[in-house]
Symmetry: C2
Subunit: 145 residues, 2 copies
DNA sequence: ACAATAAAAGATATTTTTGTCTTTTATTAT
DNA sequence: ATAATAAAAGACAAAAATATCTTTTATTGT
Protein backbone atom coordinates (compact mmCIF):
# COMPACT_ATOMS: atom_id res chain seq x y z
CA UNK A 1 0.00 0.00 0.00
CA UNK A 2 2.49 2.59 1.20
CA UNK A 3 6.27 2.75 0.94
CA UNK A 4 8.35 1.65 3.92
CA UNK A 5 9.20 5.29 4.49
CA UNK A 6 5.53 6.25 4.72
CA UNK A 7 4.77 3.31 7.00
CA UNK A 8 7.56 4.41 9.34
CA UNK A 9 6.36 8.02 9.12
CA UNK A 10 2.82 7.05 10.12
CA UNK A 11 3.93 4.74 12.91
CA UNK A 12 6.49 7.19 14.28
CA UNK A 13 4.13 10.14 14.24
CA UNK A 14 1.36 8.22 15.95
CA UNK A 15 3.81 6.92 18.53
CA UNK A 16 5.21 10.38 19.23
CA UNK A 17 1.70 11.78 19.47
CA UNK A 18 0.83 9.13 22.01
CA UNK A 19 3.93 9.23 24.19
CA UNK A 20 5.36 12.71 24.03
CA UNK A 21 4.56 16.20 25.17
CA UNK A 22 6.42 19.50 25.15
CA UNK A 23 7.73 18.53 28.61
CA UNK A 24 8.56 14.95 27.73
CA UNK A 25 10.28 14.55 24.40
CA UNK A 26 11.28 11.28 22.76
CA UNK A 27 14.68 10.31 21.38
CA UNK A 28 15.22 8.65 18.04
CA UNK A 29 16.40 5.46 19.76
CA UNK A 30 13.18 5.01 21.68
CA UNK A 31 11.04 5.83 18.66
CA UNK A 32 12.80 3.53 16.20
CA UNK A 33 12.78 0.77 18.76
CA UNK A 34 9.11 1.16 19.58
CA UNK A 35 7.90 1.17 16.01
CA UNK A 36 10.40 -1.45 14.82
CA UNK A 37 12.14 0.62 12.17
CA UNK A 38 15.78 1.19 11.18
CA UNK A 39 17.07 4.02 13.37
CA UNK A 40 19.04 6.13 10.89
CA UNK A 41 16.45 5.76 8.19
CA UNK A 42 13.76 6.81 10.62
CA UNK A 43 15.85 9.83 11.62
CA UNK A 44 15.85 10.94 7.99
CA UNK A 45 12.10 10.55 7.79
CA UNK A 46 11.55 12.52 10.98
CA UNK A 47 13.73 15.25 9.51
CA UNK A 48 11.33 15.55 6.59
CA UNK A 49 8.31 15.65 8.87
CA UNK A 50 10.04 18.16 11.15
CA UNK A 51 12.09 20.50 8.97
CA UNK A 52 10.12 20.40 5.73
CA UNK A 53 6.59 19.92 6.96
CA UNK A 54 6.44 21.07 10.59
CA UNK A 55 4.24 18.13 11.53
CA UNK A 56 6.65 16.98 14.21
CA UNK A 57 8.59 19.35 16.48
CA UNK A 58 12.10 18.77 17.77
CA UNK A 59 14.81 20.29 19.90
CA UNK A 60 18.48 19.31 20.07
CA UNK A 61 20.69 18.73 23.04
CA UNK A 62 20.08 17.30 26.50
CA UNK A 63 16.42 16.68 27.26
CA UNK A 64 15.81 17.28 23.60
CA UNK A 65 13.96 15.02 21.25
CA UNK A 66 10.78 14.85 19.25
CA UNK A 67 7.27 15.81 20.28
CA UNK A 68 3.96 16.86 18.82
CA UNK A 69 2.13 20.11 19.48
CA UNK A 70 -1.61 20.10 20.12
CA UNK A 71 -2.01 21.78 16.76
CA UNK A 72 -0.19 18.95 15.00
CA UNK A 73 -2.34 16.37 16.74
CA UNK A 74 -5.32 17.90 14.99
CA UNK A 75 -3.83 17.29 11.55
CA UNK A 76 -5.42 14.53 9.49
CA UNK A 77 -3.39 11.36 8.85
CA UNK A 78 -3.44 12.42 5.23
CA UNK A 79 -0.98 15.23 6.01
CA UNK A 80 1.65 12.57 6.66
CA UNK A 81 0.98 11.00 3.27
CA UNK A 82 1.31 14.42 1.65
CA UNK A 83 4.56 15.10 3.50
CA UNK A 84 5.93 11.76 2.30
CA UNK A 85 4.74 12.29 -1.26
CA UNK A 86 2.71 9.12 -1.01
CA UNK A 87 -0.86 10.37 -1.41
CA UNK A 88 -1.27 9.09 -4.98
CA UNK A 89 -3.17 6.11 -3.70
CA UNK A 90 -6.00 8.36 -2.54
CA UNK A 91 -6.39 9.81 -6.02
CA UNK A 92 -5.11 7.55 -8.74
CA UNK A 93 -6.55 4.84 -10.97
CA UNK A 94 -6.01 1.23 -9.80
CA UNK A 95 -4.63 0.33 -13.19
CA UNK A 96 -2.43 3.42 -13.32
CA UNK A 97 -4.26 5.00 -16.25
CA UNK A 98 -3.74 8.73 -16.51
CA UNK A 99 -7.05 9.57 -18.10
CA UNK A 100 -9.23 7.25 -16.04
CA UNK A 101 -12.31 9.14 -14.93
CA UNK A 102 -16.07 9.08 -14.94
CA UNK A 103 -16.00 9.93 -18.64
CA UNK A 104 -13.22 7.50 -19.58
CA UNK A 105 -13.43 4.84 -16.88
CA UNK A 106 -11.01 1.94 -16.74
CA UNK A 107 -12.55 -1.52 -16.43
CA UNK A 108 -12.28 -1.35 -12.65
CA UNK A 109 -13.35 2.23 -12.17
CA UNK A 110 -17.01 1.67 -11.33
CA UNK A 111 -16.24 -0.59 -8.39
CA UNK A 112 -12.92 0.84 -7.31
CA UNK A 113 -13.99 4.45 -6.98
CA UNK A 114 -16.04 3.67 -3.90
CA UNK A 115 -13.11 1.92 -2.24
CA UNK A 116 -10.76 4.78 -3.01
CA UNK A 117 -13.30 7.26 -1.67
CA UNK A 118 -13.52 5.41 1.63
CA UNK A 119 -9.74 5.27 1.89
CA UNK A 120 -9.47 8.99 1.24
CA UNK A 121 -12.22 9.68 3.74
CA UNK A 122 -10.39 7.63 6.36
CA UNK A 123 -7.14 9.55 5.95
CA UNK A 124 -8.87 12.92 5.74
CA UNK A 125 -11.06 12.56 8.81
CA UNK A 126 -8.88 10.61 11.24
CA UNK A 127 -6.48 12.94 12.97
CA UNK A 128 -3.04 12.01 14.28
CA UNK A 129 -4.30 12.68 17.79
CA UNK A 130 -7.29 10.40 17.35
CA UNK A 131 -5.07 7.59 16.11
CA UNK A 132 -2.75 8.09 19.08
CA UNK A 133 -5.70 7.99 21.46
CA UNK A 134 -6.92 4.71 20.06
CA UNK A 135 -3.67 3.19 21.26
CA UNK A 136 -3.87 4.92 24.64
CA UNK A 137 -7.32 3.45 25.14
CA UNK A 138 -5.38 0.26 25.73
CA UNK A 139 -6.22 -1.55 22.52
CA UNK A 140 -2.72 -2.03 21.24
CA UNK A 141 0.85 -0.88 21.33
CA UNK A 142 2.84 -0.15 18.21
CA UNK A 143 5.56 -2.74 17.90
CA UNK A 144 6.45 -5.32 15.31
CA UNK A 145 7.89 -8.09 17.44
CA UNK B 1 -1.22 0.90 -4.97
CA UNK B 2 0.50 -1.67 -7.16
CA UNK B 3 4.00 -1.75 -8.64
CA UNK B 4 4.48 -0.64 -12.23
CA UNK B 5 5.05 -4.28 -13.14
CA UNK B 6 1.70 -5.29 -11.69
CA UNK B 7 -0.07 -2.38 -13.37
CA UNK B 8 1.36 -3.45 -16.72
CA UNK B 9 0.46 -7.06 -15.99
CA UNK B 10 -3.16 -6.16 -15.27
CA UNK B 11 -3.48 -3.85 -18.26
CA UNK B 12 -1.78 -6.26 -20.65
CA UNK B 13 -3.81 -9.25 -19.54
CA UNK B 14 -7.09 -7.38 -19.81
CA UNK B 15 -6.09 -6.06 -23.22
CA UNK B 16 -5.11 -9.50 -24.49
CA UNK B 17 -8.33 -10.96 -23.10
CA UNK B 18 -10.29 -8.35 -24.96
CA UNK B 19 -8.52 -8.41 -28.32
CA UNK B 20 -7.11 -11.87 -28.81
CA UNK B 21 -8.27 -15.38 -29.50
CA UNK B 22 -6.55 -18.64 -30.31
CA UNK B 23 -6.96 -17.67 -33.99
CA UNK B 24 -5.87 -14.08 -33.59
CA UNK B 25 -2.85 -13.63 -31.40
CA UNK B 26 -1.28 -10.35 -30.38
CA UNK B 27 2.36 -9.31 -30.70
CA UNK B 28 4.32 -7.59 -27.96
CA UNK B 29 4.55 -4.40 -30.01
CA UNK B 30 0.81 -4.01 -30.28
CA UNK B 31 0.28 -4.85 -26.61
CA UNK B 32 2.93 -2.51 -25.22
CA UNK B 33 1.70 0.24 -27.47
CA UNK B 34 -1.94 -0.21 -26.55
CA UNK B 35 -1.40 -0.22 -22.81
CA UNK B 36 1.32 2.43 -22.87
CA UNK B 37 4.12 0.40 -21.30
CA UNK B 38 7.83 -0.11 -22.09
CA UNK B 39 8.01 -2.93 -24.61
CA UNK B 40 10.91 -5.02 -23.31
CA UNK B 41 9.84 -4.67 -19.73
CA UNK B 42 6.35 -5.76 -20.68
CA UNK B 43 7.81 -8.75 -22.52
CA UNK B 44 9.47 -9.83 -19.30
CA UNK B 45 6.22 -9.51 -17.42
CA UNK B 46 4.32 -11.51 -20.02
CA UNK B 47 6.98 -14.20 -19.70
CA UNK B 48 6.16 -14.51 -16.02
CA UNK B 49 2.44 -14.68 -16.68
CA UNK B 50 2.98 -17.17 -19.50
CA UNK B 51 5.84 -19.46 -18.50
CA UNK B 52 5.55 -19.38 -14.72
CA UNK B 53 1.83 -18.96 -14.23
CA UNK B 54 0.07 -20.13 -17.39
CA UNK B 55 -2.36 -17.24 -17.21
CA UNK B 56 -1.45 -16.06 -20.70
CA UNK B 57 -0.70 -18.43 -23.61
CA UNK B 58 1.84 -17.79 -26.33
CA UNK B 59 3.34 -19.28 -29.46
CA UNK B 60 6.51 -18.24 -31.24
CA UNK B 61 7.11 -17.62 -34.90
CA UNK B 62 4.97 -16.22 -37.70
CA UNK B 63 1.36 -15.68 -36.71
CA UNK B 64 2.52 -16.26 -33.19
CA UNK B 65 1.86 -14.02 -30.25
CA UNK B 66 -0.08 -13.88 -27.03
CA UNK B 67 -3.64 -14.92 -26.36
CA UNK B 68 -5.94 -16.01 -23.58
CA UNK B 69 -7.82 -19.27 -23.35
CA UNK B 70 -11.44 -19.34 -22.24
CA UNK B 71 -10.25 -21.01 -19.07
CA UNK B 72 -7.87 -18.15 -18.31
CA UNK B 73 -10.62 -15.60 -18.87
CA UNK B 74 -12.47 -17.18 -15.96
CA UNK B 75 -9.58 -16.52 -13.57
CA UNK B 76 -10.09 -13.77 -11.01
CA UNK B 77 -8.06 -10.57 -11.35
CA UNK B 78 -6.44 -11.62 -8.11
CA UNK B 79 -4.56 -14.40 -9.92
CA UNK B 80 -2.55 -11.69 -11.69
CA UNK B 81 -1.63 -10.12 -8.36
CA UNK B 82 -0.56 -13.53 -7.08
CA UNK B 83 1.52 -14.15 -10.19
CA UNK B 84 3.24 -10.80 -9.74
CA UNK B 85 3.81 -11.32 -6.02
CA UNK B 86 1.82 -8.19 -5.31
CA UNK B 87 -1.15 -9.51 -3.35
CA UNK B 88 0.07 -8.22 0.04
CA UNK B 89 -2.24 -5.27 -0.24
CA UNK B 90 -5.27 -7.56 0.00
CA UNK B 91 -4.01 -9.01 3.26
CA UNK B 92 -1.66 -6.71 5.13
CA UNK B 93 -1.97 -4.01 7.78
CA UNK B 94 -2.06 -0.40 6.49
CA UNK B 95 0.69 0.53 8.90
CA UNK B 96 2.76 -2.52 8.01
CA UNK B 97 2.47 -4.12 11.45
CA UNK B 98 3.13 -7.84 11.42
CA UNK B 99 0.91 -8.72 14.34
CA UNK B 100 -2.00 -6.45 13.50
CA UNK B 101 -5.22 -8.40 13.91
CA UNK B 102 -8.57 -8.41 15.61
CA UNK B 103 -6.80 -9.25 18.87
CA UNK B 104 -3.94 -6.75 18.45
CA UNK B 105 -5.40 -4.11 16.16
CA UNK B 106 -3.36 -1.16 14.95
CA UNK B 107 -4.95 2.28 15.39
CA UNK B 108 -6.41 2.09 11.88
CA UNK B 109 -7.51 -1.51 11.92
CA UNK B 110 -11.17 -1.01 12.84
CA UNK B 111 -11.86 1.24 9.88
CA UNK B 112 -9.36 -0.13 7.41
CA UNK B 113 -10.40 -3.77 7.58
CA UNK B 114 -13.65 -3.03 5.78
CA UNK B 115 -11.83 -1.23 2.96
CA UNK B 116 -9.33 -4.06 2.58
CA UNK B 117 -12.16 -6.57 2.52
CA UNK B 118 -13.89 -4.75 -0.31
CA UNK B 119 -10.66 -4.54 -2.25
CA UNK B 120 -10.04 -8.26 -1.81
CA UNK B 121 -13.62 -9.01 -2.79
CA UNK B 122 -13.23 -6.94 -5.95
CA UNK B 123 -10.11 -8.80 -7.05
CA UNK B 124 -11.49 -12.19 -6.10
CA UNK B 125 -14.84 -11.89 -7.84
CA UNK B 126 -14.03 -9.92 -10.99
CA UNK B 127 -12.65 -12.23 -13.63
CA UNK B 128 -10.20 -11.24 -16.33
CA UNK B 129 -12.92 -11.94 -18.90
CA UNK B 130 -15.41 -9.71 -17.15
CA UNK B 131 -12.91 -6.87 -17.04
CA UNK B 132 -12.20 -7.32 -20.75
CA UNK B 133 -15.90 -7.29 -21.53
CA UNK B 134 -16.42 -4.03 -19.73
CA UNK B 135 -14.08 -2.45 -22.24
CA UNK B 136 -15.78 -4.17 -25.20
CA UNK B 137 -19.10 -2.76 -24.05
CA UNK B 138 -17.72 0.48 -25.38
CA UNK B 139 -17.00 2.28 -22.15
CA UNK B 140 -13.31 2.79 -22.61
CA UNK B 141 -10.18 1.67 -24.31
CA UNK B 142 -6.95 0.97 -22.46
CA UNK B 143 -4.46 3.61 -23.40
CA UNK B 144 -2.52 6.20 -21.48
CA UNK B 145 -2.25 8.99 -24.05
C1' DA C 1 15.96 -26.83 -46.44
C1' DC C 2 15.56 -21.90 -45.81
C1' DA C 3 14.31 -17.38 -44.62
C1' DA C 4 11.30 -14.76 -41.89
C1' DT C 5 8.94 -14.10 -37.75
C1' DA C 6 8.05 -13.62 -32.93
C1' DA C 7 8.59 -15.06 -28.29
C1' DA C 8 12.20 -16.72 -24.77
C1' DA C 9 16.25 -16.02 -22.52
C1' DG C 10 20.19 -13.64 -20.86
C1' DA C 11 23.05 -9.84 -19.85
C1' DT C 12 23.37 -5.29 -18.55
C1' DA C 13 22.01 -0.47 -17.26
C1' DT C 14 19.48 3.00 -14.75
C1' DT C 15 16.73 4.75 -11.18
C1' DT C 16 14.50 4.58 -6.88
C1' DT C 17 14.07 2.94 -2.39
C1' DT C 18 15.94 1.57 1.68
C1' DG C 19 19.47 1.69 4.85
C1' DT C 20 24.06 2.98 7.31
C1' DC C 21 27.78 5.73 9.01
C1' DT C 22 30.25 9.99 10.12
C1' DT C 23 30.49 14.77 11.03
C1' DT C 24 28.32 19.02 12.38
C1' DT C 25 25.35 22.02 14.95
C1' DA C 26 22.40 23.42 18.66
C1' DT C 27 21.23 23.05 23.46
C1' DT C 28 21.74 22.11 28.22
C1' DA C 29 23.73 21.20 32.68
C1' DT C 30 27.85 21.56 35.32
C1' DA D 1 33.66 28.05 29.42
C1' DT D 2 33.27 23.18 28.94
C1' DA D 3 31.59 18.66 28.41
C1' DA D 4 27.70 15.96 27.39
C1' DT D 5 23.68 15.25 24.77
C1' DA D 6 20.72 14.76 20.87
C1' DA D 7 19.05 16.17 16.48
C1' DA D 8 20.62 17.87 11.73
C1' DA D 9 23.18 17.25 7.84
C1' DG D 10 25.90 14.95 4.50
C1' DA D 11 28.14 11.24 2.28
C1' DC D 12 27.89 6.72 1.11
C1' DA D 13 26.18 1.68 0.43
C1' DA D 14 23.07 -1.94 -0.66
C1' DA D 15 19.01 -3.71 -2.52
C1' DA D 16 15.02 -3.61 -5.33
C1' DA D 17 12.39 -1.93 -9.13
C1' DT D 18 12.30 -0.45 -13.67
C1' DA D 19 14.02 -0.55 -18.16
C1' DT D 20 16.92 -1.70 -22.38
C1' DC D 21 19.54 -4.41 -25.56
C1' DT D 22 21.34 -8.63 -27.66
C1' DT D 23 21.24 -13.42 -28.63
C1' DT D 24 18.78 -17.73 -28.88
C1' DT D 25 15.02 -20.82 -29.81
C1' DA D 26 10.72 -22.28 -31.74
C1' DT D 27 7.48 -21.99 -35.51
C1' DT D 28 5.70 -21.05 -39.99
C1' DG D 29 5.25 -20.14 -44.81
C1' DT D 30 7.77 -20.47 -49.09
Amino acid sequence: MFSKATEYALRATIYIAQKSSEEHKLGIDEIANAIDSPKSFTAKILQVLTRDNHIISSVRGPNGGFFLTQKSKKLPARSILLAMGDEDILEKCVLGLKQCSEIQPCPMHAQYKSIRKQLKELFMTKTIGQLATEIKDGVVFISNQ
